[in-house]
Structures are given as C-alpha cells and as structure tokens.
C-alpha cells in the first residue's frame, strides 16, 4: 500500500499536470485569502501564492525545474499578454495625443528616476552586480520587466519578485505622498501610480476615479516602453564606468 502511494507520487511529481493544476489551485486559494483579509496590497494574491508554492516545493523536495515543466504553460501567456497591452494603449490614444509632451517628459523623468535611484542605492550598499541588473527594471509591468532583466544579464525570476514588491510598496506609499505634495489632479495621481507601481498602482488608481485609472494604464504602458527601449541601451556603458 505504502509502496503504491510512493509510486503514484513519483509519477505525479514528475508530470507537468500536477504542478500546473497546483499553481491554479493555490492562486485561486490565495485570491480567497486576500479577499478575506480585506484585499490588502501587502498580502497580494501573487505574493501569497509564491509563499505557499515555494513551501510545498521545499516540503516535497521538488526542484524548480520540475515545477516549471508544468507551470511553463501559464508562464508562456506573459508574451501574448504584453502584446495585448496595445489595446488599453489604443483606447487612451486621444488623451495621450492631447497631453503628449507633458506625459513624455514626466514619464521619462519618472522612469529614469525609478531605475537609477534603485540601482545607485543598492550599488552603494554593496549589492551584487546580478542583483543590480535584476533591480533596474523593477518599476514596470512584469512581462516587460522580466524581458529587460534578461537582456541586462539579471535574473528574470528575481526581477518578477522585485516587481511585485515594488507594486505593493507603491500602493502603500502613494496616498500619503499625494497628500504631502497636495496633488489634486486625478490625471497626475493616476499617471504617477501606473508609472511607478505598474498594475498594482493601476488597480488602486481605478479606486480613486475612472480618469485616474485610465491615466494609470497609460503610465504603466509608457513606463514599460521607455524602460524596454532605453534601459538596455543606456546600461551598456555601465560596466565600463564602474569597472565591473
């Protein structure tokens, strides 16, 4: 009997079916847990899912490659999802055209500030090179951030976790900062939240108003495009500069 169970486990643990199903079940459970706890961004469903799945994998002695054989079917959809961001971008095209220059200037400044300040602080505190490269694209939406991280020589999976943390941090800090700087324009609030806290910030901006939400979606897309196009190009000279 015990031997049969071991055999069945050996079969399941190595098949893609188990870990694909497990990922979906754990995520659904995490959505429920997050809702029960009042929908706090600190306990985002993705963070809860990561903690539970890593726990299960460690307890069962399963390595990440075996898990990813199953989970890759979900992971693959990140590419098409990035392409799909063209639709919200298209739907906001009139607002983009009306405020094109202010949005571009502030977007460029904000995205550059996010990447450079994070990398500078971590560098001064003695972080590893690969940590710095994984940290640089952390403000933009995961599918883009992971692609940029890979291009820079960072670790895409570390970047994915840092992106999620940035989103949660942005949601916690934004309301206080908006009050401190006395920002009243919903367009400005939304754009800044989408730009610096991607999807998390966008979801929170929709709670302020529909206008804030639309501008957050725009900030998210613009930060993604600016970071994807400029970060890999501008970081090419960095290793030479610091002699790394």
């Amino acid at each position: 009997m015990a031997e049969e169970i071991t055999d069945i486990w050996a079969f399941l643990a190595a098949s893609p079916l188990l870990w694909l199903t497990m990922t979906l079940v754990v995520f659904q459970g995490s959505l429920w847990i997050n809702k029960r706890l009042g929908g706090s961004p600190v306990l985002h469903p993705v963070l809860i899912s990561m903690a539970i799945l890593i726990g299960i994998l460690l307890l069962t002695g399963t390595d990440y490659d075996t898990y990813f054989d199953g989970a890759q079917f979900i992971h693959f959809l990140l590419g098409p999802a990035t392409v799909a961001l063209a639709i919200p971008l298209y739907e906001n095209r009139q607002q983009i055209r009306a405020l094109l220059l202010p949005l571009l200037v502030s977007g460029l400044a904000g995205a550059a500030t996010a990447a450079l300040s994070a990398v500078t602080i971590a560098y001064l505190m003695g972080a590893e090179w690969v940590t710095l490269m994984s940290l640089a694209p952390k403000s933009v939406t995961s599918p883009i951030a992971m692609g940029v991280s890979e291009k820079l020589g960072g670790l895409p999976s570390l970047t994915a976790a840092l992106v999620l943390l940035t989103g949660a941090i942005g949601c916690i800090l934004a309301p206080g900062l908006i009050r401190l700087l006395r920002i009243r324009d919903d367009r400005v609030k939304g754009f800044a939240m989408g730009l610096s806290a991607h999807g998390f910030g966008t979801a929170q901006a929709f709670g302020i108003s529909a206008t804030a939400g639309a501008f957050a979606g725009l900030g998210l897309a613009l930060a993604g495009i600016i970071t994807a196009f400029l970060l890999p190009a501008s970081f090419n000279w960095l290793p030479i500069l610091v002699g790394g």
């Binding site: 899912s49 995961s142 895409p156 999976s157």
Partner: protein, 122 residues
C-alpha cells in the same frame, strides 16, 4: 471560423513578428514589446479594436496577476542572493518608489498648469 482562434492568431503573430525582428536586427529590448507596438500601429491604421480581440485581451489582462506566479516561485532558486542582498534591495525599492512617484507628479502637474496658463494668455 472561431473568433477566439482569430484573436489568439493575431496576438501570437504580433509576438512572433516582434521576436523575429528583435533577433534579426539584434535589438536590445524584449520581442513582445515590439509586438505590442506592431499591434498598436495596426489598430491605428485599422481605426478600431475588433470586438472579438477586445474580449480575448480583456480576459487575458484581467487574469494578468496569475501569469506572474510561475516566475515568482523561481525566487526559491535565488534564496542565497536575496539573503545576502536583502538590505540594499529593500532600501533601493522603497526610496526609488518614493522618488519616482514624487518626480512624476511634480513635473506633470507643473507642465499641465503651465499649459493651461499659456492657453488662457493666448
């Protein structure tokens, strides 16, 4: 002909074109980002989003969070790095997020105010 399949073909073809062009021209940014710009350009030329494409992408983007989980679990491979670098990572994340929010909001609100003042003068 299924419109769901047409929508999937459109998304995958744009991504494929993006990936091929990035590899071909050795561009430094991710293929799907170029795929997004290709689709955006196509929508501008066509002058609207077809309903079936809107439905499929809405579904995909509504469940975007789920798609991050497999990569996020990969954090377990980097426990050593995170244990070593957790302090620079955390301080870098918090300070840079505050600065990015502040810089973006201050510049954008100044520029919008400047523009409306100029519109009143003119």
């Amino acid at each position: 002909m299924s419109s769901l399949i047409t929508a999937i073909i459109i998304l995958l073809t744009c991504q494929l074109a993006g990936e091929v062009i990035v590899l071909w021209l050795d561009l430094p940014f991710p293929g799907p980002v170029l795929g997004m710009l290709i689709l955006f350009g196509a929508l501008l030329i066509r002058g609207g989003v077809p309903e079936y494409l809107k439905q499929t992408t809405d579904t995909l983007l509504r469940h975007l969070a789920l798609l991050f989980v497999p990569a996020g679990v990969g954090l377990m491979v980097h426990f050593g790095l995170v244990a070593r670098d957790w302090a620079p990572i955390l301080l870098g994340l918090v300070v840079s997020t505050v600065l990015a929010l502040g810089v973006t909001m201050l510049i954008l609100s100044r520029l919008i105010r400047l523009r409306s003042r100029r519109a009143e003068d003119g």
